[in-house]
């Protein structure tokens, strides 16, 4: 249920991270989620897709890696130069 809020947090962080790197556009963001983080990766992926659609970040992709314990961290951001 809170995956919507988490997805929104990812988008905000991507915007912040990208602002300093203009005019590059973000294409993919990688996050690491542990099994004890209380986040359902499928649900997060779905929420992320819904929030990205029609936003300034479309077609940003989300890549989820399995992390240790309760990890819920950013890993990388892929950018494309125009």
């Amino acid at each position: 249920m809170h995956e919507v809020a988490v997805a929104g947090g990812i988008l905000d962080a991507v915007r912040t991270e990208t602002a300093a790197r203009r005019p590059a556009r973000p294409v993919k963001v990688g996050v690491r989620i542990g099994e004890m983080a209380g986040i359902d990766p499928e649900s997060l992926a779905f929420c992320f897709e819904v929030l990205v659609k029609g936003s300034d970040l479309e077609p940003l992709e989300l890549a989820i890696e399995r992390g240790a314990a309760d990890e819920l961290e950013f890993v990388y951001l892929e950018l494309e130069q125009p």
Binding site: D12, E17, E35, M36, A37, L72, Y76, L79, Q81
Partner: protein, 220 residues
């Protein structure tokens, strides 16, 4: 295409707010626990028995979270201690900013123990640090002993599991030992107490757990 490393926690905003709260709690010597459990697991009832047992000189306060209504604040407000309701208007968990807002106007220096009763939910509140010293998970015997395996996150993060409603054990197929073994398989060091808020059994162990840890916090 180039890939840049991105650091930090996904819930960075909450982490920041929680760190500020934790620093404030430490500065004022406030011991804070975050109670998490399913709807109907007995969070409010346990807090009622807790407040009822304290004499009026105790410096305790309660924040109680729900999606709608201030029913819990009304229940908990009868005991003469400061209680505030946080109504999340749809959100399935409390976050650090809601706690910060709810604390506005309270003098933290006048509080020794703060109980935060989270929104009834075994999943979402797990991810949100509220600046507490300990997360405590409640599991009632009407819920089934496999819950620690199905919802491992909260049992992993909680320092204490309170098995509640043990007065109902004769009527339900719940096996305490199985539930405890399941919790320990997720979190070997989790402490466990068994309580009934209705019959007031096991409350001494609960109150001692709180007092013992609260006493370890340097008073300011």
């Amino acid at each position: 295409m180039n890939r840049v490393a991105m650091e930090g926690k996904v819930l960075n905003e909450n982490e920041r707010a929680a760190a500020e709260l934790r620093a404030d709690f430490a500065r004022h010597g406030v011991f804070v626990v975050n109670l998490i459990g399913s709807p109907g697991s007995g969070k409010t009832a346990l807090l009622e028995r807790t407040l009822e047992s304290y004499d009026s000189s105790r410096r305790v306060a309660v924040l109680t979270g729900d999606i709608q209504t201030d029913a819990d604040a009304a229940r908990l407000g009868r005991y003469g201690f400061p209680v505030r309701q946080i109504t999340t208007a749809g959100a399935c968990h409390l976050d650090a900013r809601m706690v910060r807002r709810a604390l506005e106007g309270w003098d933290l220096a006048g509080i020794d123990v703060l109980f935060i009763e989270n929104v009834g939910n075994l999943v979402c509140p797990t991810s949100y640090d509220l600046g507490e010293a300990h997360k405590i998970v409640l599991l009632s015997v009407t819920e089934g002993e496999e819950k620690p395996l199905k919802y491992p996150g909260i049992f992993f993060k909680a320092d204490l599991m309170a098995l509640t409603k043990i007065d109902l054990l004769p009527y339900v197929p719940f096996q305490l030992e199985v539930a405890e073994a399941n919790a320990r398989s997720v979190h070997p060091d989790i402490e466990i107490i068994r309580v009934s808020s209705t019959l007031k059994t096991g409350l001494d162990g609960w109150l001692e757990w709180i007092d013992h840890r609260a006493a370890a916090i340097p008073a300011r």
